[in-house]
């Protein structure tokens, strides 16, 4: 379509008389040649006038990226991890209209209810989880875009033994400490973006993260100093359900010949 418009401009100069010939230029054809600032030019974008770019921005398509925050809870997964809360943020850069890379970080706080085979004792496990990977969007309507995402996950963990357990041990002159090493695993999930204003999206997402961390438990007799150490492995897998808000960066206008 864009070539046609330009051809229409050039044509009289090539073959017509010297007197210029007026050619009516349909602005909409130019829009198609130079997509509007764009990002949100959805299904019917070819029909959206340039002067309506703002309204076009209310359509969920063709974004350059986003930054956002979210909160939610984790559930399921490792049997000895109870439901936990999480909060975090992420950002994405789309190198194609619907394909991009994302990175995020969130903090997950989970109580541990140990089982006989558990590597950790009763306590709370806080994980700072850095995720990164690919995100692919599937626009299905003007305002709703499902997406899937997946990639690597890095867990940085800290564990604190339950205070009542520590207290009971202290009363018996024991001191216990437990550490959970960092771990690398993976994450995979999907969600739905819903446009609520020109550059604001709310989203819901379910994501499965999986990793196993080495653990180190140490019990010290505070009288004799007798210390025992035990290693283990803590399963960190969980399904995270989260909701959040994103600020999106629309894809800007493309220069001719480069689109």
């Amino acid at each position: 379509v864009a070539r046609n418009a330009l051809d229409a401009l050039d044509e009289p100069m090539k073959s017509g008389p010297i007197a210029p010939r007026r050619v009516a230029i349909d602005p909409s054809s130019l829009l198609r040649t130079f997509p509007p600032s764009s990002a949100f030019s959805g299904e019917g974008s070819q029909n959206v006038p340039a002067s309506d770019a703002g309204r076009a921005g209310e359509r969920l398509e063709g974004i350059r990226g986003w930054v956002g925050g979210f909160a939610g809870f984790s559930t399921g997964g490792a049997a000895d991890l109870e439901n936990g809360f999480l909060i975090g943020g992420n950002a994405a850069f789309f190198f194609l209209d619907h394909v991009g890379i994302e990175a995020g970080v969130h903090r997950r706080s989970t109580d541990v209810a140990p089982m006989p085979s558990s590597a950790l004792s009763e306590g709370s496990l806080d994980s700072t989880i850095v995720t990164g990977g690919v995100v692919v969007r599937f626009p299905v309507s003007a305002r709703v875009v499902p997406y899937v995402a997946g990639g690597a996950a890095y867990f940085s963990n800290s564990f604190e033994i339950d205070a009542s357990l520590s207290g009971r041990l202290a009363a018996l002159n024991f001191e216990a400490t437990e550490e959970v090493e960092s771990a690398i695993g993976f994450n995979v999930g999907g969600g739905v973006d819903v446009l609520v204003s020109r550059r604001l999206v709310v989203f819901g997402e379910a994501r499965y993260l999986d990793a196993a961390s080495d653990t180190r438990a140490e019990l010290r007799d505070t009288i004799t100093g007798t210390t025992a150490v035990a290693g283990g492995s803590q399963d960190l897998k969980a399904v995270e359900i989260l909701v959040g808000v994103r600020y999106v960066f629309p894809r800007g206008p493309r220069k001719a010949g480069k689109s």
Partner: protein, 552 residues
């Protein structure tokens, strides 16, 4: 001739001490607690209960009427009045008049008040009735005294050692850290476990594994010593699995040890001692059997012995050239006072193990120098350096133990143990080195006895060092404690026999609750937490100190 004997380390001498304590506490003239609170109110007159109704039942019905069912239920629980799920009270109804129709009349009366008859106990009728109906039952002449049906009461006895050693802190707190995945197995090796089956589910776990190598079976011919030891282990470590094995002879002893090892026990509690089976330096037949367990990874916890007051040792000395040992320059007999009927056995050994060519003999005389017993084994290079002689005292009085050099090229170091059926004071005592065998075994834990009330070392508790100079015992633990077994005889359980199972149980408890520790570390913790008594550090009386699981 008795070459060696095994002796359970039960010691009952503390009865007198306990009696004295009780008398002091109850001495007349001591102010009673109520005096501080003012005079007691006079008893209620007239009596509030009826002649036909137990006062607890009368109070129950009154509380039910005035304060409601919940208050009545609380009262019933506090007064051992049995209520069923429907809050009906179980009563025993005595017959008011003995007649053939009395029982029927009682049943009719019960039914009239919507109760039901549960059964007969002799001439008594057991029934369940609503609380408010209890006092209505009275009236007909056939109904006599009404009382609550008795509740079965568990006669559990817990060793005072559980609290003294602060094992109770762990038990009551329920504290654990990475507990052992499997229960800890404790073997109790003893002469007999008479009556153990009666204590299953109360003083002992609901089930135990037993194996008898004794010709008379697990009871050992009526010996309950092992049962009392097992009780203490169970008090200290209620979750431990118990393996009870008994024996009579040394060969059976070895079989029993091997069986316990094959059962993969973690700890063996051993409250038996032997005399004349080795030099006291860890060598000997019994020690070898103990080592079969310790080398298999079993923690062997044994009594140190009760011989600190019945042991003597010294170098043979013949100051007047008559071949009799001189305890002093003028005394050739070690006097012991016996009561008529007392069993007395003297054991003698000397430092020429294992095939001795130094020949010494043992004699016992009465105060008239009449020979009562003797042992004159040959030692010509192929016999052990041991003698033993025993008798039953025909009359009360002093007896003398004398040692004769028959044929010897050197003055050996002599050692005697006197064993009597009742506590007796002997003239010459050397407490040092009084460990019984196999308390001298390296790699095994020897346990001395402290009285649970005051931590004082029991005067009879055997002392180190071993004959090769190692400090023993390793720990001390309470004795004089209550067990159901000996309580039935009206006696606390005294002796290092009672002390060893406290330590065995403590090991099992710590290992079970803190499974992250190796057995070796558990022992280190017990040693490190023991309350230092006697000389600073490990000594030959208390060892590392008195057992304490928490430390201070």
């Amino acid at each position: 001739m008795m070459a060696f004997r095994k002796i359970p380390f039960t010691f009952r001498a503390g009865r007198l001490a306990l009696l004295l304590v009780a008398l002091v506490e109850a001495a007349p003239g001591s102010p009673q607690g109520t005096l501080d609170e003012g005079p007691l109110p006079p008893p209620a007159t007239p009596r509030r209960s009826s002649p036909d109704l137990d006062s607890r039942l009368a109070q129950l019905t009154e509380i039910d009427r005035r304060e409601g069912r919940e208050a009545a239920s609380r009262f019933a629980a506090a007064n051992a009045i049995p209520l069923d799920a429907r809050q009906r009270v179980r009563v025993l109804i005595h017959q008011g008049i003995a007649s053939t129709g009395a029982e029927r009349a009682i049943a009719a009366r019960v039914l009239a008040f919507a109760g039901n008859v549960q059964g007969r106990v002799g001439d008594l009728v057991e029934a369940r009735v609503a609380i408010e109906a209890v006092e209505w039952l009275s009236g007909p002449p056939e109904i006599g005294w009404i009382e609550p049906a008795p509740l079965p009461v568990s006669m559990q006895v817990t060793s005072q050692g559980v609290a003294v050693t602060q094992a109770s802190e762990i038990l009551e707190d329920g504290a654990s850290y990475r507990p052992s995945a499997e229960p800890i197995r404790v073997g109790v090796l003893d002469s007999g476990f008479e009556g153990y089956s009666n204590l299953l589910g109360s003083e002992l776990p609901s089930s135990v594994t037993t194996r008898s190598f004794h010709p008379l079976g697990i009871g050992g011919g009526g010996v309950a010593h092992g049962t009392a030891c097992a009780e203490i282990v169970h008090d200290m470590a209620p979750d431990a699995q118990l393996y009870l094995a008994n024996f009579d002879t040394l060969s059976e002893h070895g079989q029993a040890v091997d069986w316990l090892v094959s059962q993969r026990v973690d700890v063996i509690s051993y409250s038996i001692g032997w005399y004349n089976t080795g030099p006291g330096d860890g060598r000997g037949m019994v020690n070898d059997q103990v080592r079969r367990a310790t080398t298999a990874g079993v923690e062997w916890v044994g009594s140190a012995g009760n011989d600190a007051e019945t042991h003597w040792e010294g170098i043979f000395s013949d100051t007047n050239g008559d071949s009799w040992h001189n305890y002093t320059s003028t005394d050739e007999g070690n006097t012991i006072s016996l009561r008529k009927g007392d069993l007395f056995i003297a054991f003698l050994n000397w430092d020429d193990w294992f095939q001795s060519s130094q020949d010494y003999d043992l004699y016992v005389f009465d105060s008239s120098n009449r020979l009562m017993a003797f042992s004159d084994d040959y030692q010509d290079g192929s016999q052990p350096p041991t003698e033993a002689a025993g008798f039953v005292a025909p009359s009360s009085g002093n007896y003398y133990v004398a040692i004769h050099r028959y044929s010897a090229t050197r003055n050996v170091t002599l050692e005697t143990f006197f064993v009597t059926s009742s506590p007796n004071q002997q003239e010459y005592v050397v407490s040092a080195g009084s460990l019984a065998i196999p308390a001298d075994t390296d790699g095994a834990i020897a346990v001395g006895a402290t009285y649970w009330r005051d931590d004082a070392l029991e005067p009879f508790s055997s002392q180190g060092p071993t004959s090769d100079g190692r400090t023993k015992p390793d720990l001390s633990a309470p004795d004089g404690v209550d067990t159901a077994t000996y309580q039935a005889l009206g006696e606390p359980f005294f002796g290092t026999s009672a002390s060893a199972p406290h330590v065995a149980g403590a090991i099992a408890l710590l290992k079970a609750r803190f499974g992250i520790y190796s057995m070796e570390q558990v022992i280190d913790i017990l040693y490190g937490r023991a309350l230092d008594r006697g000389a600073a550090g490990k000594d030959n009386e208390y060892g590392e100190g008195r057992l304490d699981l928490v430390g201070r």
